[in-house]
């Protein structure tokens, strides 16, 4: 049965391993944005044996880049929604190793990620695509920003969120994937179409 779950960061592995595809999740606490350049930078920093700007143990990575406005010295989120996750497919094992427990994005990911989710006890959460106002309203404030030299979309934005969702478990730590299921069924349907 599908369940609705509220989770607070830092996420605990046992809570994540309890989630199954189709479950709906809302997150309270801290989430951190990262996309193509942000992941490359994280790998670069790690390879140089330097310290990452934040601790990812029990952390959440949100594939996203916000629209922000600078008010005095502080940035404010205007809106923020998910970006297409498949671009970050090569980095799932790496972020699993950092202790990340949930990835939020859109469109799903592939088999490499599915393996990493099993190995580290992580979950992939599908955000409502394009819904940047709804999700932006759930960001209480920007806690911090790093690597702004990569540009606004690619920087690491550390966000304090409340009731962040609805997020649907698209891929779970048992190796299940809604996206894979749809693709397999779809292939069979196409074979019968003509």
């Amino acid at each position: 049965m599908m369940k609705e779950v509220k989770l607070s960061t830092a996420l605990k592995e046992e809570d994540i391993r309890d989630l199954r595809i189709g479950d709906v999740v809302y997150i309270n606490g801290i989430i951190c944005t990262s996309r193509d350049m942000g992941h490359l930078k994280m790998i670069d920093v790690t390879e140089k044996k330097e310290k990452l700007p934040i601790d990812f143990q029990g952390g959440v990575i949100f594939h996203a880049g916000p629209v922000v406005k600078k008010q005095g010295e502080k940035y404010e989120v205007i809106v923020i929604g998910p970006t297409t996750s498949i671009r970050m497919e090569p980095y799932s094992d790496f972020i699993g190793g950092l202790g990340v427990k949930a990835i939020i994005g859109k469109g799903g990911m592939e088999e490499g990620t599915s393996e990493a989710l099993k190995k580290y006890g992580m979950v992939y959460l599908q955000a409502p695509p394009g819904c940047a106002v709804v999700l932006g309203e759930k960001v209480e404030q920007i806690e911090n920003v790093f690597w702004l030299e990569l540009g606004v979309p690619e920087a690491l934005w550390v966000l304090k969120v409340e009731n962040f969702g609805p997020l649907v478990v698209g891929m779970d730590s048992e190796g299940n994937s809604i996206y894979r299921d749809i693709r397999i069924k779809g292939k069979k349907l196409i074979e019968k179409m003509f």
Partner: protein, 300 residues
């Protein structure tokens, strides 16, 4: 001359901002229809969130989606057009986009294609892109601005097919489109619309695909009976894959299929497929020489 540079700048800036704050009425209408028909609980919740997002954007004066996509402006004019009203429009759009970015309506997302450097204000070579068309008898200058999301671009495909690949009843073509939609899954932010360009050469088919989904009303009916039939069949077959809103299952992933064709060489069959996310940020202006103005794809 009625349409001075100042007047054009004001109209264009307002058009850009309005495109960020709302989606075109055809897309909204189709989203509402798909919510009514939806039976999958997850998809219902996704569709309701999408429609809530559209309403909240309007209420809070915020951009519907964080990503501005990539802008193309389709400009057409007739033989009596005053070129003084057209000559500066590339510059006007580029400047107005920079201003809209500074004002928090567009995220600075344009980067150098290789160095990936971001100037921080959506400036850059070829931003926005322009497609000019000369329609001799047209009495007005028409601009259609379309900010097309780039997650959707990740699902796109282009193939130079052949007569042999086309097969009986165009099965090869249909399979190419449907398989492309299945492979794209939830990446193009479903429910999406699909533009298909057929014919010409590679460049022509690709431009037609983008144009079909950008300047046509997603609810229109193709005047060519064969294309009309194909548009309906492909849309239905893609939806039968049950990819659903957000790509997590459901009845509607495809709101519309729009096909444009031109002739091609007997040796080739170029087919280009271009996805457009549900965030239909587009709007148009028809500017008449006497100062009359019509607004297209707006009014939500």
């Amino acid at each position: 001359m009625f349409w001075t540079r100042e007047k054009l700048y004001e109209e264009i800036y307002n058009l850009i901002v309005d495109c960020c704050l709302s989606i075109s009425p055809d897309a909204k209408d189709l989203l509402q229809q798909s919510l009514k028909k939806e039976t999958n609980e997850t998809a219902k919740s996704m569709l309701q969130t999408i429609l809530d997002d559209v309403e909240m954007a309007k209420k809070l004066n915020k951009p519907v989606c964080q990503s501005p996509g990539f802008g193309t402006v389709y400009v057409s004019f007739g033989k009596n057009a005053n070129l003084e009203e057209i000559k500066d429009i590339k510059e006007i759009y580029a400047q107005a986009i920079i201003k809209a970015t500074k004002n928090g309506y567009l995220r600075p997302s344009m980067v150098h294609p290789l160095t990936r450097k971001n100037p921080g204000d959506n400036s850059g070579i070829g931003v926005p892109n322009f497609e000019f068309n000369f329609i001799p008898e047209q009495e007005y200058v028409e601009h259609i601005l379309s900010f097309k999301g780039c997650g959707a671009e990740l699902g796109n495909a282009m193939k130079i097919m052949t007569t042999a690949m086309l097969g009986k009843n165009y099965v090869g073509f249909k399979k190419f489109v449907i398989e492309t939609a299945l492979a794209a899954g939830g990446k193009p932010c479903p429910p999406y619309a699909i533009g298909i360009g057929i014919g010409g050469q590679m460049d022509i088919a690709c431009k037609l695909a983008r144009q079909a989904v950008s300047i046509r009303d997603w609810r229109d009916s193709n005047p060519d009976p064969l294309m009309k039939e194909l548009e309906i069949e492909l849309c239905d077959k893609i939806n039968s894959l049950k990819i659903g809103a957000a790509g997590t299952g459901g009845n509607t992933s495809c709101l519309a299929v729009k096909i444009e064709t031109v002739s091609t060489h007997t040796a080739i069959l170029p087919v280009a497929i271009s996805f457009h996310c549900w965030v239909a940020r587009r709007g148009g202006l028809r500017l008449y020489p006497d100062g009359k103005k019509e607004i297209l794809f707006r009014g939500n």
